[in-house]
């Protein structure tokens, strides 16, 4: 059974003892550490020597179908992020979409 506790951005930031985020315009919460096991994709700019696979959290042990499903998940995420109200997120989304396409072409061929 799941219990859901309301946690607005300002209250989650308050828990982290940081100044409250303004109510408008800052779209992304910075909540306590996300323990999600899904989608290891990042929201920071890619490091220079990272491959596209590294960026997307794809390792050599993943099978083709696993890679396909993972790319689909990431595509859904970053395609949506390309419409984000946050300019930094939009910018990062473009980089990630490029990486997604590159990895897809590598593993499944070009269109």
């Amino acid at each position: 059974m799941f219990k859901k506790v309301l946690l607005s951005i300002s209250k989650s930031l308050g828990r982290q003892s940081q100044p409250s985020a303004p109510a408008t315009r800052k779209p992304l919460a910075r909540p306590p550490a996300d323990t999600s096991a899904a989608a290891p994709a990042r929201t920071t700019a890619p490091a220079q020597n990272q491959t596209a696979e590294d960026l997307l959290g794809i390792d050599a042990k993943m099978g083709k179908e696993q890679i396909r499903d993972h790319l689909k998940l990431l595509y859904r995420r970053y395609n949506r992020a390309a419409s984000s109200l946050d300019h930094a997120v939009r910018s990062e989304a473009d980089s990630m979409l490029d990486a997604i396409v590159a990895v897809r072409e590598k593993h499944f061929g070009e269109i």
Partner: protein, 496 residues
């Protein structure tokens, strides 16, 4: 004389207006310049108090005084265009385009007061509100907003009798929208809509321009353009080449500037297809996303229909044929079918059931009693693809002892990870003191036919509640008073 059923496609690069004739067929209405489609470009003249809209704006003026593709910014609450010391919101720029359509087309078909306007499927709440605001400032009442692929499907059903389960592939100047719907006679049921911004013909033009510049620099050892006016001219040349490459395998062009001279550029269709290959891959992934959203397979789609000028690119058709195993359908003039469909929709709207194009929720710490796991999540209240209008409720509990103000952030987006959703509003509700944490709160979101969100928060223990219609705040968002004032100002403007 007043015309009853009018549809407007307010496009990123081209806009069109259609009306429903007495025989029940839609017809495009040309503007005063004789064009069936009006370029969505606005030029602010420096010497006369006049705004040019359309081809004259696109082709003639100082590019620093010209606004292109304003639709791309309709969802940005902070975006403003500054011209001669005055700031213009995206809504106002769009209002100028709509005002030109209204004024010009009214001379042919009669007074236009109420319209259906189309928007991309992935337009968020703010972009939709901005579109409605633009129409109001232009003196138009919005009967309905309809998604562009929906309007196109209505037109295909009407003109070609396309029935069954259909995928609409709408690749225009600025965005790609994919909608899957079921058409059964006059009844249309939308199953899902997916969209990708910055994936359209103008993006292909930019890629081609970069290729032009590369070839030019190899020959002339200087950049192809040195200022915005030169860039616009070169961009127009690349767009013309793109269109030619839809008919020919090779094109040659001479481009250049006064400072560095001319150079001949040769381009093959194969080179162009290679340039846009990655964008085409994104397009295919969007199609796959739509199929997944609707829980369908490729074989479940009976027809694929094409919408938008960019679907004239042969590679687009080949790609879809390869993916679906059947050639896609085209209506001939793929630029106009959205406006034509919007005019049909104006009369048929009662027989179309649409879905929520985004998920709406709130932020919550979710505790899994079975595993002991806890994490902050975007907790979805209205899932994407819920038929609209709709109203959904979720139960939450308060987070703190003696919490005096309940705060509910309203999120937009499907992702469970809060980093990847937008917070589009907040509701606060004052509650009595001295209560322990864990008090129950119900959050109800309602979503209307024009895809606008209302939120209701009810504290069960005290019975207190608050309901709001979500509003955006930002430099580019006009208040109701400002909307009225600017609308009056616009009505007095000279727009050609």
């Amino acid at each position: 004389m007043m015309v009853e059923y009018v549809g407007i496609d307010l496009g990123t690069t081209l806009s069109g207006l259609a009306y429903l004739k007495p025989d029940g067929n839609p017809e495009i209405v040309p503007n005063s310049d004789g064009e069936r489609l009006t370029p969505s470009v606005v030029y602010f003249d420096a010497h006369e108090d006049i705004k040019l809209v359309g081809a004259a704006a696109r082709d003639g003026g100082d590019p620093d005084r010209t606004v292109f593709q304003i639709k791309r910014h309709m969802d940005d609450p902070e975006y403003l265009v500054t011209m001669d010391g005055r700031e213009w919101t995206p809504s106002e720029i769009s209002a100028l385009i709509l005002a030109k359509l209204k004024r010009d087309c009214s001379k042919i078909v009669g007074d236009i007061t109420e319209v259906v306007i189309t928007v991309p499927a992935n337009f968020n709440e703010l972009a939709r509100k901005s579109t409605i605001a633009a129409a109001e400032m232009a003196g138009l009442k919005v009967r309905r907003l309809v998604n562009e692929p929906t309007a196109a499907a209505v037109y295909y059903a009407h003109s070609q009798g396309v029935q069954g389960r259909i995928l609409v592939f709408d690749l225009g100047g600025g965005t790609l929208d994919t909608t899957i719907l079921e058409v059964d006679g006059d009844n249309i049921r939308i199953l899902t809509s997916e969209g990708a911004r910055h994936l359209g013909g103008s993006n292909f033009d930019d890629l081609l321009l970069a290729a032009y510049d590369e070839q030019y620099q190899k020959q002339v050892k200087a950049p192809l353009y040195n200022d915005e006016r030169q860039r616009r001219r070169a961009l127009q040349a690349s767009e013309d080449a793109k269109k030619m490459l839809s008919k020919l395998q090779r094109v040659s062009d001479t481009v250049g500037n006064d400072a560095s001279g001319l150079a001949r550029i040769d381009l093959s269709r194969e080179t162009f297809e290679n340039l846009i290959r990655r964008m085409m891959t994104r397009a295919v992934m969007l199609v796959e996303q739509a199929l997944d959203s609707a829980m369908l397979k490729v074989g479940d789609i009976e027809h694929v229909v094409l919408v938008g000028g960019s679907t004239r690119i042969p590679k687009v058709r080949q790609m879809l044929e390869k993916h679906f195993g059947t050639p896609p359908k085209t209506c001939g003039n793929v630029d106009e079918c959205v406006a034509l469909g919007a005019a049909l929709f104006a009369r048929k709207s009662g027989r179309i059931s649409e879905v929520c194009n985004q998920s709406y929720g709130t932020l919550a710490m979710v505790y899994n009693a079975a595993t002991g796991e806890e994490k902050v999540q975007n907790s979805i209240v209205i899932p994407k693809n819920t038929p609209i209008p709709c109203s959904c409720t979720q139960m939450y509990v308060t987070s703190e002892d003696n919490e005096r103000v309940i705060e509910v952030d309203v999120t937009q987006g499907e992702d469970s990870d809060p980093r990847f959703v937008d917070v589009i509003g907040r509701i606060t509700l004052e509650v009595p003191p001295n209560r322990p944490k864990g008090c129950e709160v119900t959050v109800t979101f309602s979503y209307d036919e024009n895809q606008r969100v209302r939120a209701l928060v009810v504290d069960k223990q005290s019975g207190r509640s608050r309901e709001v219609a979500l509003t955006y705040k930002g430099a580019g968002v006009l208040s109701d008073d400002e909307l009225q004032r600017r609308g009056s100002y616009l009505k007095a403007m000279r727009i050609e």
